[in-house]
């Protein structure tokens, strides 16, 4: 492994340095049919699951084949994407805001060979490399985070649970039988990188034990006031502690006030809290970002805790399946999961989804919590 220089001179680090050039210009990468018809699109149709056509004022058409991507991908996989794009699409390809991959062709005849090629490509375990779908009223890719593959604050993994859930819901990636599109997302801690707070169904990594305190190192590693200010419930205060006869500055955590958010650990390496038995998953439901019919909604906590069951998280998969099936069976056409839950009432949501209601689901965070209790006699038995 001999070091090979790029031309960068570590003796003169600022020499020849190029900065502030930003991203490449998107116009370099538009397929010709996109470039020519940009801003002139008349309408679109989903001609089958995973396949869209857009028709321009000029009469031009662009056919899009959407395939699932697992977001975490190797350069070998990206090169295979390139190979397909070169064979069928003139060397152009794009990714969606939900990390699916879209291959575009400019005539209908080119769709079937592209589809056949995509579906013929399998992984050694039998999985599809490029499953077609993710359009219309179905279940598309799961927006997710780093988990145990790269992050230091997760309470669960990301890639693993996503694979387990998508395997279970795979049929709904490639069909459109739901009342409306159903967006699932995952965040491995409640920093909620991504879309957990605004998704139809959301998987959230959660801790249930207060942080441990590495008193010997805490004042050396942490800016104590920042750790104190990081706590939403003011559970942390400065403290002096005795370690091996020496008096050290540190912090004290009031365990009764700690709700295990982990934000103090984000700010202070000496307050780790992850734990095999304590950590697991919270499920949320009913969020959306579009303004269609109803306003955007936050997702609500509907399952207080499920354990981390590696490698396939069966309890999480099962609870999500229950929600998907109850919603699919009961909601009206165009109704998002949150709109359905609000229409039938959350008491009915829990009944229909066969989910247990526990005290953990009642809001107790500051003044706004009151507005989530029920100030009416209107309820269903």
């Amino acid at each position: 492994m001999a070091f090979i220089s790029s031309g960068y001179d570590p003796e003169n680090p600022m020499k020849d340095r190029i900065t502030d050039i930003g991203p490449r210009n998107y116009e370099e990468f538009y397929p010709p049919v996109i470039k020519e018809n940009k801003g002139k699109w008349l309408y679109h149709e989903i001609i089958e699951p995973g396949v869209l056509v857009h028709v321009s004022e000029s009469g031009d058409e662009v056919y899009t084949v959407r395939v699932g991507g697992c977001r975490l991908m190797s350069v070998s996989h990206i090169r295979e994407v390139c190979e397909i794009a070169e064979k069928h699409c003139g060397g152009y390809v794009r990714w969606t805001t939900r990390n699916n991959i879209e291959f575009m062709v400019d005539s209908k005849e080119k769709v079937q060979p592209l589809k056949d090629d995509l579906l013929s490509r399998k992984q050694p375990g039998g999985g599809f490399k490029f499953p077609i779908g993710g359009t219309g009223a179905g279940i598309t890719n799961i927006i997710h985070t780093q988990g145990w593959i790269h992050c230091h604050t997760p309470a669960t993994d990301a890639s693993g649970p996503v694979k387990a859930v998508m395997d279970d819901l795979f049929e709904d990636f490639g069909r459109m039988r739901l009342p409306a599109q159903l967006r699932i997302s995952l965040a491995c801690c409640l920093n909620m990188c991504g879309a957990v707070h605004c998704s139809d169904i959301a998987i959230l990594g959660y801790h249930r034990k207060p942080p441990m305190l590495d008193h010997e190192y805490l004042d050396k590693m942490c800016e104590i006031p920042l750790a104190i200010a990081a706590c939403p419930t003011a559970a942390i205060k400065p403290a002096k502690v005795e370690v091996d006869g020496a008096t050290l500055k540190s912090v004290a955590v009031n365990n009764e006030r700690c709700m295990f958010c982990g934000n103090c650990y984000t700010m202070c390496p000496s307050m780790p809290l992850s734990d095999k038995e304590g950590d697991g998953i919270v499920l949320m439901a009913g969020g959306k970002v579009s303004n269609r019919i109803s306003n955007p909604k936050f997702s609500k906590v509907v399952v207080g805790f499920l354990p981390n069951e590696t490698p396939r998280w069966p309890s999480t998969v099962k609870a999500i399946r229950q929600m998907v099936e109850a919603y699919t069976a009961d909601a009206n056409k165009y109704e998002r999961l949150g709109e359905w839950a609000e229409r039938i009432g959350w008491e009915r949501f829990f009944e229909k989804c066969e989910l247990e209601f526990t005290h953990h689901l009642i809001d107790d965070f500051r003044d706004p919590a009151y507005f989530t209790w029920r100030q009416t006699t209107n309820f269903k038995f």
């Binding site: 309408y43 694979k163 200010a229």
Partner: protein, 436 residues
Amino acid sequence: MKHETPLLDELEKGPWPSFVSDIKREAESRRVNANNIEYQIPTDVCEDILGLLELSFKDGTTHWKHGGIVGVFGYGGGVIGRYCDQPESFPGVAHFHTMRINHPAGKFYKTEYLRQLCDLWEFRGSGITNMHGSTGDIIFIGTTTPQLEEIFYELTHKHNQDLGGSGSNLRTPSDCIGQARCEYACYDTQAICHALTLEYQDELHRPAFPYKFKFKFDGCPNCCVASIARADLSFVGTWRDEIRIDQEAVAAYMGGELLPNGGAHAGRDWGNFDIQKEVIDLCPTECMALEDGKLKINNKECTRCMHCINVMPRALRIGNDRGLSILAGAKAPILDGAQMGSLLVPFVKAEDPYDEIKEVIENVWDWWMEEGKNRERLGELMKRQGFQKLLEVTNIKPVPQHVQEPRSNPYIFWKENEVDGGWERDINEFRKHHQR
């Protein structure tokens, strides 16, 4: 493979693309090294990442040390440092830093360009990526500190490509597909996303803010890039004239010749399309009606929710007088609770060079950079100092559109100059008329 991975092997089963199979593929590719690449980080990096992940699956916990501060000279962000907490067992991932690479707006690519990035990352990194990070960047996962400058040098010198953002700064802006391939787009999301990314390169690369700040650009209120939930300033396309109606196409929908919602519900029998039930009765403002077989819209009462257009894309089109709304303050829960964007500018034209929009952005930044506390998102400053303050600093007049409803508590602040006579009063004057 170097490590046994019985738990991860279970995730090679099932129909969805397996990240485990894919990483194993990359591990094998590096082991074989058919092109005799002089790998600049350990050849077995992919085997060690699988080994470490297997250990996490066994232990139910992460094995990355806290934090990590690395980067490239000239910038204060763009690289997320990461170190394994079992470096003796997994030396291939002892250093495993992430680089954020600013993606092109709309995430369109030419394969030639992707191949250049793949060659670079295979040579100087792990060969593992995220396509893409949640904020939008191309994510290169896993390299060593000495490679960071080398990668940056090649990116900028050979590929005309910069890093994205991280830290307390402007993060990489991103957008929906917009006018490139959507008939709903009310402005050119790619153009403004690119223009503002270039305009604010300094704010993106050198953290100067109290905390992170994100822009996202949605072409219409369907919000395909989720700006309203995931950007401190969200830009959502809209129009202020009339929805264009093609009555012949409306009749074609009613006659069953065209499938509702572009065929989005074709996987189930929902019965024949019923325009009354599926459009008119679902309109949130009840501003639609059928008269003599023709669809009428009282546009003055329309809130542009997109439902009717989504259901009948061939019959109904966005208006011609287009622009965007700006919403402010979206964020995840930490610290004070999750927020979605709150409407700040109901309508502004989105035309290059976007001066009016830049003025709003810069006024918001001037305020937040001065008043924002350490690690306080814009949304939290808005809660702490009040929405009125945001209006004041952006020189925007309060209008009813700024609220979902007026306040119900009467704890109303007045400015002294709004009140006749001001606040300086003499108790003795008061006592002349009111005995103790």
